[in-house]
Amino acid sequence: MSAILEVNNLKTTFHTGNGAVQAVRGVSFHLNEGEILGIVGESGSGKSVMSMSLIRLVAPTAKIEAGSILYKGKDISTYSARQLRSIRGKEIAMIFQDPMSSLNPVMTVGAQVAEMLSEHSRLSAKERKAQVIALFNRVRIPEAEKRYRQYPHELSGGMRQRVMMALALAMQPGILIADEPTTALDVTIQDQILKVMRQLQSELGTSILFITHDLAVVADLCSRVLVMYGGQIMEDASIDDIFARPLHPYTLGLMASIPSLEQEKATRLVPIPGSPPDMLNPPAGCPFAPRCPEAREICLENPAPLVDAGKGHHSRCWLLTEGARELDHPFRTVTDAMYRNRERTEDTL
């Protein structure tokens, strides 16, 4: 299997009035041809910013520094704005989180999809319309002819997200980036959208980067997963491997907070205490250390190494290194950890 996308040491920093927010801090990964790769993390982990940085869709205040972003072997991080435009939509397309606001309210949905075709192909207006209607049928939009002439406000959330999918797939791109495409939809609609997505993936062979905070969706859809936290990749593994032997304490925490249908009524979900780090002053060591029940002194002071656990499974954790487990805990309880964390932020203020 060859990689269609290879990202090395991607960093994205937002320069704000309060200082530099380091949203993405050195992310490296690859996406294989025809693969669905899940990226999981809570809000603020940098997963959306990371994915938008790939085709430079982040706000102008953001600065993207990357070792390289290789798409089919070509480094698109060095492309000019003009060159990059021929990649956007045609080679790498995106679906966004909120289908309510992602479509232009004053343009018919048909015209919005047709615009993609007129930008990247030489079809006549008639051919474009026929193709858009074919796309609508493909993403299972009923009454495609009628929908073509309708405006976004006349469509339900699920229908709009299908329009977004038709839009993203119009040019049969090599990569589809789906940024939490089902988060804003209710569960039944979510299921339908995922079904359509899986079907299209097997028909067209598009590689998909699927961003979500929902491990259950990842388990259902993806073949491999990256766990992101504090702008870094904490763990990456195949889907079978990550559920069989999760190595990173953060991944364990995420799994413990998933409700299960079989669980007893009395069993309480276990949340991860604390909140994500402040990326204005990212912690010196492992970003998860202040919330980590297993943390050692070394975790707070030094960035954790990415440890190869075999079978393509990597985890960024000190505990997986020789002799780390024998080190002292820096604090006895999680409450202590949070208290200490607060002291640290107060020091920096």
Binding site: L103, N104, P105, V106, Q112, H153, M164, L167
Partner: protein, 306 residues
Amino acid sequence: MARFLIKRILLMILSLFVIAFLTFSLMHAVPGGPFTAERQLPARVEAEMRARYNLDAPLYVQFFDYIKGFLTFDLGPSFKYPGKTVNDFIENGFPVSAKLGGITILFILAVSIPLGIWAALKNGKWQDGFVMTIATLGVTIPSFVIATLLMYLFSHKLGWLPVFSLDKWQGYILPVVSLGGYSLAFIARLMRSSLLEVMGQDYIRTARSKGLSEVKVIVRHGLRNALIPVITILGPTIAALLTGSFVIEKIFAIPGMGVYFVDSVGQRDYTAIMGITVFYATFLIVMTFIVDIFYTIIDPRIRMEA
């Protein structure tokens, strides 16, 4: 659609009736009358005059007589200028005011919208600061100050432009700039803030993700959405400019409707007050109606519903 139009037109007629009624009541509530002067008229003469202009009838009779006349487009005789009717005033004054106003509107549109777009695209840079400083000045400095300054500079000092004359096109420059300054500045600021807001929307990001050039993103996806608030303000602005401004017409000695209107209030020229107020109100209501129709064209989310 048809139901919407009928309902709107009926509402417009009702609004006009209410405006006419309120103006009529307020006008008669103010002390003094058209024949009040420093030198008191002999009682018999005044009674004669009042009888002649139907002013001795009960107020409600006068009001309904007025409405009857209005429906046949007869706005009545002027009380102050014997032999002239209010229709004459409007027929003479309105074309002058409307021509000046029309040119001003074109000038405002041609300058303020591109200026606002330019400032928005250069957000935070010196060009933006420059446009916004000028626009803030334009909104805060009263038109008579601008007019006087312009006259002093371009007519008196430099001698480039005439002060009082609408015979030549040069004569229009100073009145147009003074009259339009405020609205121009206001619309430029509105255009800028509206476009800035729209450019931060999610669908702009979607448009960019399609690989469109920045120009296409702005023109196809940004502008149409950003123009919606601008169109709202354009209706009343056009009505106000076409019906004339008292201050500018007074300063540049332009024989338009604005001057007649203010003079008629001071002189208690009842029919002239009523005539011009109702004329202006009609204009405003019709412009608002046109703006509402434009809305439904530009924004499909707004429906014409009865």
